[in-house]
Structure formats: C-alpha cells, structure tokens
C-alpha cells in the first residue's frame, strides 16, 4: 500500500514541481541582477493599468454573474420552449476563445462594423467599441466595449458555477418558502442566500479570467495591466515583466484564496448529496423567462458568431486558406490532444495524491495545483522560457533540449500549468462521489493494489478522466498567449496564426480560421455529450 502511494506521490509531486518551479525560478531571478530598474517600472503607468483592469474585472464579474444567474434560473426554475436544449448548449460560447469573440464583435460594432455603419448613417452616431469613458487624471478608466466582449466570452463560466449551485439546493426548501411568502420573496430570501457561495465563486472566477485576459484588450488596444506585462516582456526585459505583474498576481491570488478559503471551498469540493427533484409546480411555464434566457445566449454569442460565419463567406475562403493554415491547425490539434491527455493523466495523479492525503492535506495539494491558474498566461510563459533557457545543463541537441526546450515539451508544461486545476477538479469531482467499497472488496478478495486500480477504480473514474481530457483539449485549443510566447521551434498554433492574420488585415481568412477552430472545439465536445449523455461538469 505504501509503495502504491509512493507510485502516485512521486509523479504527482513531479507534475506540481514542473508547473510551480518555473514561476519560483523567474520570481527569484527578478530579484537578482538589475533589480532597481525593474522595480522602478512599478510606477504611475502600472497604477493606471491596474485601475483599468480592476474596473474591467469587477464590471465583467458583476454583469457575467447577473447573466449567468438569469439564464440558469430560467433553465432550472422555469419551463419554456427549448429549455432542455438551452441547458445543454449554453456553455457553447466557452468553446470560442475570447479573442475570437472580439473578432466577431468587431464585425458588428467595430469602427467599420455593419451596425456601427448603420448607426452612423441613420443616426449620425460615431460608434467606437474601443473608446474609454469616465476620465480620471486625464485618462479614461472604463471601457464598456472591452467589458461587453469579455462578458460575452465569460458569462457561461459564471453560469456553470451557478448551475452547480442550483443542482445542490434542495427544492423542498424553496417550495416551502414559496407557499409561505410567495415566489419573489422566496427567491430573495431562500434561493439567493443558498446560492451565495456559488455567486461569489462565479464572480471571482470571472474576475480572475477578465483581469488576466490578454487577447481582448490586445485587439481593442485597451490599456490594461496584462498588455503592459506583455509589452514589457516582449520589448524590454521578461524579468521586469515579472515584477510589474506582481500587483496583478497578488490580486488574483488573493481572489483565489478568498474563494477557496471562504464559502467557495464548499463549491470547489462539491457535494455528493442528492437534493431531490424539482417538481413541475416549482417550474411554472414562462415565455418571458424563455425569451430572456435564449436572448442572453443568442445576443452575446449567436449573433456575433453568425456575423463571423457570414464574413468568412462560402467554401472558397476555406479552400483558399486550407494549405496556408494546415501546419498551424495540425500543430494546434496535436498539442490539444496531447495536452488533453497530459492534463487528464496529471489530474488523475494529483487527485489521487490529494485523496491519499486525506481531506485537509488533500485540499492543500489541490490549492497548490490551482495556484498557477492565478498567474496570467504571460507570466507562466515568460517564467518557462526564462527557466528552460537559462538551464546550462541542457546539452544542445540533447533529448531535453530537443523535446522540451525546442519541442512540444515547453508548450505542454505551459498548458499543464494553466489548466491542471481543471484536470484535477474533473477527476476529483467524480472521485469524491464514489463509494470506496468496491475497491475494499477487491482488496479483500486478494487483488493487488495495481490490479484493483486498473480493473475497479479506473473504469469508475472514466467519466471524470474523460471530462478532464475534454476540458484540457478545449482550453488548450483556445489558448493564445502560450502559443505566442512560449519558445518552440515547430509548434506555432492556429491561435497565434489568427493573431498574425489580424495584423495583416485578412478579415475573411481570419473569420474562416476562427470558424474552423470553433468547429475543432465543438466536435469532440458534442461527441462526448452525445456518447456519454452529459455535460462537461467540474463542480
């Protein structure tokens, strides 16, 4: 038994080390050498950027949580046309990376977007999605266009978390309150307080995603702290970028710890309790709720994505770019599949390690695995480059050099660092719901620990492992910054290509490649959903 634990513990610690060590390495490196000039960069510009990011993050968290709550409430507590379908597809916008949301919204509201042109022609309004408002000290601090796009990309994340909350509420409590005080007061007095930890968690997760987002502000030229970190990393000194990222990282780590150590721990750990069924009396028919819920999905995701599809035009555009983008699409697909497998395997290892350590210490392991998630992708990427580039022990053309530093290894570690928490959660969500009795029975019957694991535990964990794979696959496919920044010789991703094509103003081709990437994300998710009759749930 002890040997089996070691077998899990050693690779799990190795995974955590591979993910956390570069961050520590670069952090320590930033405190050596030309420290003064690096710290001097923490000036008024950084404060400006932090304020902009903070306002953006808070606004985005509030609106996304509201949208998520409205849609999930309608799906769980009202009956309307297409409710089940909506419940299955509302996460679809998450399959589309934020910068592609931006490209699609710019088709509508950009300077030359068709709605902007219409508003200008008919009403004389000069609409600019990039414009900032509320001047403080001569600079705008509120960027509603950027916020709107981030909301359209991130509200389904809030909806996922809140949906987990609705599934955990015992409907009988609400039913009793409705009888006693009516629907409206029951919602305010019972449903919302019971959902509170999920609302907090949803808000904080969206906040973290929003303030660490690079693609949306980069395309809209919104002066956020992420742009500043990227600029410094690319144009000045990567370690100086690490220093100016400190206020951002402190904010995200604080938000994460607040979620995990506060009420959010209950959300994160989930519950195995069956709360009971929602009766039809609890779910009255409401066309208004249906219009609201479908409206949120169609306006925030359907409309801009349809515009993108329209812009891409017919098959000739896809045919025209196929040969040009094939290497990047292939690289992205291979990376996404391998990263999905790695994230699921590492998730299984870390989850197993956390389980073996018991509830409290296991939770700490999970927090450690979650920590890199609080670091923006730019910081993760520059830390990896810094550490692996500085390892003089790497013999040029040796195996580590070839396969890790200049090969697929470095981007894989980056994806692992960024998305491991989803892998761990995907597996742990299933693990914590399983009874240990079949394993105990197998051991009592004389099976070895490895045989028990492969023949009893693994098949029962399969749905969780598969969920971790699908999540890893989707997230990797959509990740932009690692594709742009991580040193690699042969693995330029489709996302990096999209970014480059935007630079060269090839709108139709950008739209076509975006549609192709969205389809690549959608197909395996749809297969998973149909084959296993489930959504990708991590909570």
């Amino acid at each position: 038994m002890k040997r089996a634990r070691l077998l899990v513990a050693i690779p799990a610690i190795a995974v955590l080390g591979a993910v956390v060590a570069p961050l520590v390495w670069a952090g320590v490196g930033a405190l050596r050498g030309d420290v003064g000039s690096r710290w001097a960069r923490l000036n008024g510009v950084i404060l400006d950027r932090m304020v902009n990011s903070f306002v953006l993050g808070i606004g985005c968290a509030l609106v996304s949580t509201l949208f998520g709550l409205a849609l999930v409430w309608a799906v769980h507590r009202r009956e309307f046309f297409g409710r089940r379908l909506l419940g299955a597809i509302y996460v679809a916008p998450l399959l589309v990376p934020p910068h592609i949301h931006t490209v699609s919204w710019m088709r509508v509201f950009g300077r030359q977007g068709y709605l902007s042109n219409w508003l200008h022609d008919h009403w004389g309004w000069q609409f600019d999605i990039r414009r900032g408002f509320v001047d403080v000290g001569g600079a705008p601090v509120f960027f509603p266009g950027t916020m709107m796009i981030m909301v359209s990309a991130f509200w389904p994340l809030a909806a996922l978390v809140i949906s987990a909350g609705f599934r955990q509420i015992a409907p009988r409590q609400e039913e009793a309150a409705i009888v006693a005080v009516g629907r409206r007061r029951a919602f305010r007095g019972v449903t919302l307080p019971l959902l509170a930890p999920h609302l907090w968690t949803a808000g904080f997760f969206v906040f973290i995603f929003a303030i660490t987002c690079y693609g949306v502000p980069a395309l809209l030229d919104t002066p956020t702290i992420m742009l500043e970190v990227f600029f410094t990393s690319a144009n000045v000194d990567p370690l100086a970028a690490w220093v100016i990222a400190i206020p951002l990282v402190a904010t995200t780590v604080a938000a994460l710890l607040f979620v995990l150590l506060g009420g959010g721990r209950r959300v994160w750990e989930g519950r195995s309790l069956d709360p009971g069924r929602v009766t039809s009396a609890m779910r009255p028919r409401s066309a208004t709720a249906g219009i609201l819920a479908w409206g949120i999905l169609l306006v925030t995701a359907g409309w801009p994505l349809a515009s993108l599809l329209h812009k891409a035009g017919g098959p000739e555009t896809y045919r025209a770019i196929w040969n040009n983008v094939l290497p990047q699409v292939k690289a992205s697909l291979i990376l996404a599949v391998v990263a999905g497998i790695t994230i699921a395997a590492a998730g299984l290892l870390v989850a197993g390690f956390a389980n073996a350590l018991g509830r409290r210490r296991g939770f700490l392991v999970e927090v450690l695995a979650l920590l890199p998630f609080a670091f923006p992708a730019v910081v993760v990427a520059l830390s990896l480059n810094e550490m692996w580039g500085s390892l003089s022990a790497l013999r040029p053309d040796g195996l580590l050099d070839r396969w890790v530093y200049r090969g697929m290894g470095l981007p894989l570690i980056a994806y692992l660092a960024l998305f491991l928490p989803f892998g761990v959660r995907g597996v742990r969500a299933t693990m914590t719901r399983l009874s240990p009795r079949p394993e105990e029975a197998a051991m009592v019957a004389g099976r070895g620990s490895l045989a028990t694991f492969t023949s009893v535990t693994l098949p029962r964990l399969a749905p969780g492992i598969l969920a971790a794979f699908v999540l890893g696959y989707i997230l990797t496919l959509g990740e932009l910054v690692a594709g742009l920044m991580v040193n690699t010789d042969r693995w330029q991703t489709a996302q990096a290509r999209v970014f480059n094509m935007i630079h060269f103003s090839r709108d139709e081709e950008v739209a076509a490649l975006c549609v192709m990437i969205a389809l690549l994300a959608l197909v395996p998710t749809a297969i998973y959903a149909v084959a296993f009759n489930r959504r990708v749930e991590v909570l």
Partner: protein, 375 residues
Amino acid sequence: MRLLPALALVLVATGIVAAQDAGTVSVYCSLDAEFSQAILDDFERETGIRVEAAMDVEATKTVGMVNRIISEMRAGNPRCDVYWNNELAQTIRLKKLGCLQPYASPSAADIPAGFKDPEHYWTGFAARARVIIYNTDAVAADDLPRGLNDLLDARWDGKMGMAKPLTGTTLTHAGALFALWGEEKTKTFFRDLRARDIRWERGNAMAMRSVSNGDYAWAYTDTDDANVALVRKAPTAIVVPDQGEGEMGTLLIPNSLAIIAGARNLENAKKLVDYLLSPAVEAKLAAGRSAQIPLHPGVEAPEGVLRLDRIKAMEVDWEKTADMITKHGDWLHATFDGEAGSTSEPGSKFTKFAIMLAAAAILGLGIWMATRTRA
C-alpha cells in the same frame, strides 16, 4: 528496473547522434513565417542542409526572439546559429551584448555601406520604407501631405493616424530621429505630436487599415503594410515622405542577418547567410506580399515596389539609433502609452485607488444585499 540503464543509454545516444549531425543549421527568424518559410524551404531543398527554424510572430515584435538569444547566451548554451531579424535595432543590441560574431559575406559585396556593419557583425538586406498612405477619396492629389512636418500641421487635425512609437519600425523611426536631431528637438517634436489630434493606432497595419476604410485621410506606415492595401485595391496610394531639396529623406529599415557567437554549425550558418543575402532572395522578397525593397543594385522587382536608386533615403547612424531607442524608450512609453501614464497627478492616483476600492465594495455590497435576508 533493468530497463533503466538501457533507456539511459538510448537517451544519451540520441543526444550524441543529434549533436554530431553536421547537416543542420539553426535559425531564429523574426520575419513572419508568411514571408520567410518558403525561402528557408528553398535553401533546404537546394543545399540539403536541414534548417531548424524558430519563427517569431508579429505580436511579439522581434524582441521575444532577442530575449531568447540573450537568455541562451547567458547560460553559455547558444542553440541558434543565424539570427534573421526583420529590423535592425535589436540586432545591434545583440552585437553590443557580445552575442554575435563577425562574418563578411561575399554575397553582401554590393550592398551599400550604409546597410552593413563596418565590423561585419550584421548585414542588412531587403528593406521596408516608412511611407505615407492616403485615401484617394479623402485627399486631393494637389493637397497631399509631404512628410513629418505635416504631422504637426493643424489643418490635418483629426484626419491622420499613426502607430504609437513604442514597438517595431515606428520605434526605430523615433530612434533615428533622436540620433539625427538630438534629444531636445526630438522630444519637442514628439510632445507637439502628442498634442495634435492624431488617431493613435496599435500598429502600422491598423493605421493602413483605417486609411483604407476611410476612417481618416492619411497615416504613416511601412511599405509592406501599404502594399496590403494596394493589393486589395483599396482606394489608397502612397507618398514617399521628405523627398524635397534639403529634406532628410525617408527611413529605410532593412532586414538584418547575423551569426551568433559560438554558433555550433558555423559553416552551414555562413552558407545560409550567403544564400539569404543573394540578389535572388531579395527578388523573392520583393515579389512577395511584403514588397521588400532590394538593396542589391539591379534586382528585378515588380512594379509598385520602391527602388533604392529612385528614392532619397535618410542617412542613419544605426548604432546611435539603437542607443537612442534604449535611452529614450521609457520616455516614449510614458509619453505615448496610456493617455495619462506617468504624467498622472498625485491627486488622480488617489482617486484611482479610491475607484478600485469602491468597485470592490460595490461588488461585495451587491452580493451581500442580494443574499442577506432569509424568509
């Protein structure tokens, strides 16, 4: 357990075999793969030397690759043999850091001296020029902007655009002006520029695109970006700026090639540099979508590609330009990036902190209000 030594042997052997492979050359390339990959493929096909290319993307604007070279050199472990930069300033930075070794390529013999390092640490080829792109529907042919001074002319307020001089060729342009005019005059110029009603863009391509769309009348950009508009048959045309008598001429920014100090495949690196500096490669780059200007005399180029012998090029002290970029980069950043930037008043900083706290408080209060009562 018995497998471990065998596995270790295989790993070591793989490393040794790879290290002894003489048929490769490693190139770090900051010119977009869009334009460079086909040329490197041709070299591989023609010479049989395998090219291991790490490509930069436009978004990281050259410096990502430079940081990688510096970091590898610091570890005493250079992986790169040849650095192909799409501009010059960062190559000079590498020279100053001791990351390059000299090589006088025979292919560069007839490239003008102004585009070569006198000590042969780098050689320029296939240049881009800074040009004015204008919308032919918005600007009359007899009223065209002619150069840098038009940027300060009040009659163009609200009608012109430009990329912020923070990265890429616009930053190099700023560095060249610092080198040419000196600190005081250049800072005054940029301060005046900042005060004008100019649409500041994220990059030259955005400026080109805005002019093509008719968002404003004209902009400073590069020939490769301007060519995109011309190929798309947008209602645009270009003006080569500052060509008059006594004017400074336009800035030409060449690609640059250099061999890394301690390159492991030195002979192949020299062959690649010779190949890339050949007139044939310049002709390919001129014929491509980026319409690069050949520096070899007499290279065939399609109509529409500027010719070195027909334009007045700015005389540039490249070493000084690179120094100026390092020296004044932060000043430009503070002046141009972020509307307020470091110029924020102390009072406004306090206000901004207050905004952050208030925003957090609103979020907290909102959720607390929504969840406090129980029926």
